[in-house]
Amino acid sequence: MAYLVPDSLHEALTLLRDRRPQVVAGCTDVLPARRRGQRSGDILDVTRLPALRGIAHGPQGWRIGAATTWAEIAATPLPPAFAALQEAAREVGAVQIQNAGTIAGNICNASPAADGVPPLLALRAEVELASHAGTRRLPLEEFITGVRRTTRAPDELVTALHLPHPAPGEGGAFVKLGTRSSLVISIAMVAAVVRIDRDRIAEARIAVGACSPVARRLPAWESALQGRRLDELAGLRPDPGHLSVLSPIDDIRATAAYRIEAVRELCQRALVRAANAAGGADGR
């Protein structure tokens, strides 16, 4: 049993291949889940890998290193569409969690209530994975396959999230609903990214969390929103049919029926706020 802190990606991938350690980053999910008496094997801490740190952009878009913390994401100047992600970053747990927890940790943990997933879906994130066999990129939708399940192979590391450059006129927002103001697992949450062209919605991407095993976009509602005028926004809510991709459950936090109704309202509010962030919905 060892705590492995490699400082190069190559070394990390070798350790991963040869020793099959548990990969950890911020540990904000790993340590609460540790049970008394649980035998742990090797632990591989990826937070000191330079390749996994930092937020950068190039011709192809934005790259957010896997071990970037929520606090770093919140503090970095980013395009207005990324407000969806930055607002989520400020809603993850509380400051202590945001200073430690990482973006890739959030998606690899694959909780249905992961605050980071809806905004990343709405921002069309791709996951970059590396192993000694090479690197690959796949859409986030294909990476998280179920509750606590991903397609990461045992010898692979998530190295980054890639987000395309937002188009001009895009704005984003994130709305979280919980029973208290901080340190709360969401009842439901909605991330919205909206592109405004003059007085109309040119494109909307809306994702809902905590209402299905994996957060889902709402393609039917997104289509329905396309071309709607900004002065109509206040009245726009998804119909039940638009939400058919969701499958909320009853749990201690809320009922399934409540979640569906709340999501309709949250979608409305996220849409308006995203449009505002895009600079377009002032006269609601």
Partner: protein
Amino acid sequence: MDGEHGLGATRFTLNGASVAVVAPPGERLSDTLRERLGARDVKIGCNAGDCGACSVLIDGQVVCSCLTPTQKAEGRRIETVGGLVATDPLAQALAGRFQDHGAAQCGFCTPGMVTASVALLREVPQPDEAAITRALGGVLCRCTGYRKIIDAVASVPATLAEADAPGHAGAAIRRLDGAQKLAGTEAFGDDVAPPDTLEILVIRSPFPRADFTFGDLDAWRAGQDGIAAVLTAADVPGRNVFGVIPAFADQPAFAEGIARFRGEAVAAVVGTPATIRAFDPASFPVTWAELPAVQTPPAAEASGAPLLHEGRAGNLMCKGFVACGDAEAALAGADVTVEGQFASGFVEHAYIEPEAGFAQVIDGRVEIHACTQAPVMDLEAMEILLGMDRARIRILPTAVGGGFGSKLDISLQPYLALGALKTGRPVRMAYSRTESMQSTTKRHPSDIRLRLGATRDGILKGCDFRGTFNTGAYASWGPTVANRVPVHASGPYHIADYRAEARAIHTNCPPSGAFRGFGVPQAAIALESLLDELAAKLAIDPLELRLKNALTNGAPTVCGQVFAQGVGIRACLEALRPAWQAERAAAAAFNRDTDTALRRGVGIASGWYGCGNTSLPNPSTIKAGIRADGSITLHQGAMDIGQGANTVITQLFATALGVPVARVALIGPDTDVTPDAGKTSASRQTFVSGNAARLCGQALRAEVLRAVNASEGAALTVTPGAITVDDGSSRHRIALDQLAADADGYVLAASGHYDPPTKPLDANGQGEPYAQFGYAAQLVVAEVDTALGTIRLRRIVAAHDVGLAVNPMLVEGQIQGGVAQGIGMALMEEYIPGRTENLHDYLIPTIGDIPPIEPIIIEEADAHGPYGAKGLGEHVLIPTAPAILNAVAHACGVRMTSVPVTPAKLAAALAGD
């Protein structure tokens, strides 16, 4: 050991000093700091990132050290509260402001609050409330209601007495024990054991009801490395039963044959720290056979339901009853009647300090150091369990990181004592958050049916109250709840025709016990909700309806008790009138003008609470002495669980003696050296122990005056070695070294004893249950988001009659902290065995959930109280939940009858479901 794995030390700086520590891979930094580096100022409340008590700064950033593997600290700069307050001027100034505001009550969350605040203040020297709320949203506090913390961080000026003032009754002075809470040196239950002490882990039932059998425990133990002993019921040398009310004592330290609730202890293992921390409870040789369980009163009362205890037919533990006049006839003759059914669930105390302690055997005597609210009751319980003479048991309470009623009952004390006695070695244990939640007492779930009548002009006419309380598997304080509720269910109102019955029903749930209010908060929800319904039916202003019926001096309570003085409810309600009128008007304007889904409402509710035991003896003794060197020592046995007894009792004593508080040194609760000041419960310490302190101070003063034959009005000046007595124009000097010292070393000594005057209740609950009541009325402004069913509180005004505010700062802290617990009960808290056994599924308010809380202190002096003071501890949360429900009803027209009012529940009600 760890080096054998080829692992080097982890090196970092801890509060400026370079350290190298070898810790197992992935060990929590909180454990490493506390157990390997002696940094016990870092507190552990949950080990899950849910409470933030363990917050430290790593390279200036605040993180939970419980979520940080120690190896992550390599090369980093770690700062903890102890180091910050010792060396950082910014932290020192903040610590001073925390003390000025009373922002640390129990002090257990304080290390987290201070470190998180320092991180903020280094970035933003003058933060606004939003920034503070965001920065401190990750640290839970259960005592303060957060408002004093916000004031301290925001540098709001404090209104303290002058630093050189005597600090007598009525003066806002800093807590006498505040400095150590800020410095991180206060020793709580888990802070006293030396490193490497043997640890104890309890094996608990995974089922609400189950038979169990052990394997061959001796053979099993022999095969384990690092296990020093196994404890079961067979190891209990005395009677394996405890309970706070002797006639109802029914709870075993270790279950025998059958476990009656999920989390009940059946055995314990004692072993080395490494062994216990790695021990998987599932590997213990016990075989379970789950049995059908009853978890609600209807299930427990159904015919054929399994009985929890022989002799308690129908699982009925006991009833309480109060009746006066003829409630049925009055209701029949009332012009209007209203009725309703109200429900509440289990509420967890959620003090941030889980139960913890340490025990050792010294010269054949067992010493138990643990957090507790009732050291002498602990002693009495241990006497029975251990079958030992009480002279061989010593209870040395540690600082208590919050109690709120649950630490009145023993929890881990038997395991500590048995472990120390069986192994002959010192032992320690700290409950995990989950086992604390599973196994200790809860607020009683309630199911209340209430009918209330009134005349056309709003005079209450007839009240019929029937409450069923889920008392869980064992009696604990259930009988107290059953007795208190009928006495209090009338609220502070004059009701001539009244009938109230409370029943406590056993279920296979954790024992329900004492929690701030003993059932009265649940009863107040019913009454105060229906008063608003009545006001609506009668078209009378809700405040005026309450004023019309408020008790006055000379009016009998429902127990027939007549107070000639000291009834302060009217003054409390009157004090709310300006805010009431302004806020009702503002709400109407808001609701008229808004084009959003928000609706604003304003609600009020009252409360009252009898201080001390109900018609039972309830004495406190306080003693003090002066040594030849002139030092004054107060043996202060009233447990300070954060509420401030150390300070208040000393202020009352110093007032009576006539010396400045600063001259008095404290010896705390310790059953060897400090007399019994009773339990910290029933809002009795300021009243009862405060009176004992006053009498002690007066007696000691009389000793001094008698020595020089001075008159009562003389002024005392105690200096090293002498007391100067200025009596009019004459001055006397008592040379203390000329006096003989007693066995304690005191040349002058005295004690005070007080037992409040009460009279028994007859079969109809008529009598004099309490020597005094305290009174309260609160106003809540709430905003309902009708589209989501969420509730945001905007403002709370809390008027409390405390007779005399011995320390107004501490009074305000009690009010705000109690209100915060009332908010939690109203809006988010429900303990569900098996489902909400941690602090992320069981939610208590965070700093952002608490609106500004404006205390209004009413001082309607009480003839029995010390200098007129009344108790306060429970009153503070009694009106809160009903005032919130009334504000919600006013805002959106929906009357919620079941708490907590979660968004899903309110949304369903708004939709008419």
